[in-house]
């Protein structure tokens, strides 16, 4: 107990004369803050992107693609195949009608607001049942498109990100003019990056005849996925792959999130090493400034352990303050910040928000803690080993 009281007393002493060493302590704090800020900001891109992709997927919905296709964009299914899927076991029915949505997925060039350059925006042909196989998608402004007309509804994220998608405006793709009649809300998921129209109209405009690219089906239960896949595997008329929607979107997100992490983690480690040098510098100067004070304490009977731990406590505290500042700053500046990027597998834009999540902040603070402890240890060792007599003589 006495040892702890001693350590606390000496730490308190250190902290009280911190203002005299303001400049060098501030440098250590800012260094750690920068690490946590950059770490949280960069990794929050991966988090936000992943969240947008994965929140679109449900385990109760299966997506059927041609075997070998890596995304809806490069899949293709005939009308006959669509009918086989819709009549397969495991598909939930509303009365006699299976709950399915056969869709077409193409890409159109629309300008991004931020750069005013063309971007590949996903353009999906759907039936009214698209709303039945997706949870939480609802019209937020205007109305649903009318079948057979060149009308589109746009996701809220797409509307914010791209030029000319306000409700009641018209937009031209090639020779065809389309009217935006409404916008829809999909809880910020990837669907919100898309433009939707009547599938029959889109099939006509893109000369796709009676074909589809994906079929989404509502499953009776997540376990029905296996039943559906097994049935379709045995059918010689069809060669498809069935996944639940969550796995599908997680797969679509994998490449980009992995890329951000592969870049983000080494970047943070390097920055942390840089901040460590800053922290060491500041603690060495703190120890050297307090040389006489430390020697006096030792002469009064405080042990070397007390000096060691109190010095480390000071640096850890400084680093934690830096970490908190960096984390709060990252949250205030970046959380919710909207961007869009080209996602490889679907070769189209995904609009997402940076997500500075709790676990990122905790990881950031852990990094700060490590910097503080390591950055304090070596200077603390020097303080503890200070030859008392020599240091006092400098008086």
């Amino acid at each position: 107990m006495r040892v702890i009281r001693q350590i606390l007393a000496v730490t308190w002493l250190n902290l009280r004369n911190l203002p005299q060493r303001m400049a060098s302590s501030a440098v250590a704090v800012v260094g750690v803050a920068a690490v946590v800020l950059v770490f949280s900001a960069v990794l929050s891109m991966a988090k936000g992107f992943e969240r947008t992709m994965v929140s679109a997927g449900s385990e109760d919905t299966a997506i059927v693609l041609r075997r070998g296709a890596t995304s809806e964009l490069n899949s293709g299914l005939s009308n006959e195949q669509m009918l086989i899927v819709s009549n397969a076991p495991g598909v939930m029915k509303d009365g006699d009608a299976p709950i399915i949505s056969a869709e077409l997925y193409v890409v159109v060039d629309v300008k991004k607001k931020s750069s005013n350059t063309d971007a590949n925006v996903p353009f999906r042909g759907v039936q009214a049942s698209a709303f039945d196989v997706r949870k939480g998608v609802k019209i937020s402004e205007g109305r649903m498109f009318e079948p057979g007309k060149n009308e589109i509804i746009v996701g809220l994220s797409a509307q914010r990100e791209f030029v000319g998608l306000d409700v009641d405006s018209t937009i031209k793709f090639g020779q065809t003019e389309w009217t935006v009649v409404g916008s829809f809300d999909a809880d910020g998921s990837v669907s919100e990056s898309e433009l939707w129209t009547d599938i029959v109209v889109l099939q006509g405009a893109y000369r796709r005849g009676n074909s589809y690219q994906s079929v989404r089906v509502r499953l009776e239960s997540p376990a029905s996925l296996k039943v559906l896949q097994d049935t379709l595997d045995l059918d010689p008329r069809i060669d498809v792959e069935v996944q639940n929607e969550r796995d599908y979107y997680a797969g679509q997100a994998e490449g980009l999130t992995r890329f951000i992490r592969i870049v983000g983690y080494p970047l943070t480690v390097l920055m942390a090493v840089g901040a460590l040098f800053g922290a060491l510098n500041s603690m060495y100067s703190s120890v050297s400034v307090r040389g006489k004070e430390i020697a006096t304490l030792r002469a009064l009977g405080f042990g070397p352990g007390t000096v060691l731990l109190s010095t480390m406590a000071e640096s850890t505290l400084l680093a934690l303050v830096g970490g908190l500042i960096g984390g709060v700053l990252a949250f205030l500046v970046f959380n919710g910040f909207q961007v869009s990027t080209l996602n490889g597998p679907s070769f189209s834009q995904v609009v997402f928000n940076f997500a500075v999540t709790g676990d990122l902040l905790i990881q950031g603070l852990q990094a700060a803690l490590v910097i503080g402890i390591v950055g304090g240890f070596f200077p603390a060792m020097r303080a503890a080993r200070l030859p008392v007599a020599a240091a006092l003589r400098e008086l």
Partner: protein
């Protein structure tokens, strides 16, 4: 220069502090070079573009095909010297994570269009004689250990064959390379005639055309003439210079340059505080010494110069180490990253920016302590000692 010994000695009076400061500067410049190379991988394609090459894509989207019949019609347009076509195959080798671009095209026109690529003449000839032949870039061949004569199976994600299979097999007839360190060759080419005959759907279409304008012809006029030719047809075109095409494609990824700049901004702000603090501490401790120097007849300006030089010295040692080691790491990683991040390269412009940043950081960190040292009054300073 004559004070170099003095500056050097001053810099090392507190070895730990100077070493740690140099290391901080080193890390900052190492980050600078690595981030510049990442940024270049995303935006550098524009540098490789040839001003006389145009790219013709479908107007609504790059993913929509164009008829192969456009080939002759484009070739006939005034100012077009030669034209060739490419398509996107989108397959992978063995497992989906081994993805790299594959393009069906025609052998001779392709290499005529890209004189910056080197391929032995006999390999090009062998490819032109083998319908199922393919040529692979050196970066790709190195990564997977492929050699001439290997049988190369590629799994299609889009193009099933007419027999329903997704398994395409090719013979490696050639390996092409480029002497330009900025260019990546992590892709493969195979024969369009074989592709078009074997695929299940999409016959008679290509992905896009690339053409070279005749010497002296105005690329912008040629581009307009092409788009006018196909206006109001079922497949309208959008023709742009290779540079504009590369730039607009780059922009699709988002503002990578801005992200890099923000990160570096945070890094350099911290760095300035670290080295600025070191310099001001160092000057504070040395006030009596500086006063002695002045008493000995050193002018105010030499004292300013001495302190500023010390700050520059620290920044330059750390900065040069950071840029140098960064350059080595980038050179070493470039070939391993070729498929993952093609064009990972440190351009000369980034090295120049790096040196400019060193000068700015050195001056900013040193200027206030140096000015303080310059203004020092001898009497006050000596009496404080």
């Amino acid at each position: 220069m004559k004070y170099f010994y003095l500056v050097w000695k001053n810099a090392w009076r507190k070895k730990i502090r100077t070493t740690l400061t140099i290391l901080s500067v080193f890390i900052a410049f190492l980050l600078f070079s690595l981030l510049s190379a990442i940024n270049y991988a995303f935006t550098g394609g524009v540098d490789l573009a040839d001003a006389e090459r145009l790219v013709v894509i479908e107007k609504i989207s790059l993913i929509n095909p164009l008829p192969i019949s456009y080939m002759d019609r484009i070739a006939a347009i005034e100012g077009v010297q030669e034209v060739m076509h490419l398509s996107w195959f989108g397959g992978y080798y063995q497992e989906p994570r081994n993805q790299f671009p594959q393009f069906p095209t025609d052998p001779y026109p392709y290499f005529a269009m890209y004189p910056e690529l080197d391929i032995p003449a006999e390999q090009l000839e062998a490819w032109s004689k083998n319908r199922t032949g393919a040529v692979v870039g050196k970066d790709l061949a190195d990564q997977y250990g492929w050699k001439l004569g290997d049988r190369l199976p590629i799994i299609a994600t889009i193009w099933t064959k007419a027999d329903g299979s997704t398994n395409w097999e090719f013979d490696i007839e050639g390996i092409f390379s480029t002497s330009d360190p900025r260019g990546s060759t992590a892709y493969m080419l195979f024969r369009y005639d074989y592709f078009d005959e074997a695929r299940a759907f999409g016959q008679g279409t290509v992905g896009w055309y690339t053409l070279r304008v005749r010497n002296g012809a105005d690329p912008i006029q040629v581009a307009k003439a092409i788009d006018l030719q196909f206006a109001n047809s079922a497949a309208e075109t959008k023709t742009s210079t290779e540079a504009a095409f590369a730039q607009s494609f780059t922009k699709q990824f988002g503002n990578i340059a801005l992200i890099v700049t923000l990160v570096l901004g945070a890094v350099f702000f911290t760095l300035l505080l670290v080295s600025g603090n070191t310099m001001s501490q160092s000057v504070r401790e040395r006030i009596p010494e500086l006063a002695v120097l002045k008493t000995l007849g050193f002018t105010d300006r030499s004292v300013l110069g001495i302190v500023l030089s010390e700050s520059m010295l620290i920044t330059f040692i750390g900065g040069a180490l950071g840029l140098g080691i960064g350059w080595l790491i980038i050179k070493g990683l470039a070939s391993q990253l070729a498929a993952f991040l093609p064009g990972f390269y440190l351009p000369a412009s980034a090295l120049i920016t790096g040196v400019v940043l060193m000068i700015i950081a050195g001056v900013l960190a040193g200027i206030f302590p140096a000015a303080k040292a310059m203004r020092l009054s001898i009497v006050d300073a000596l009496s404080r000692a």
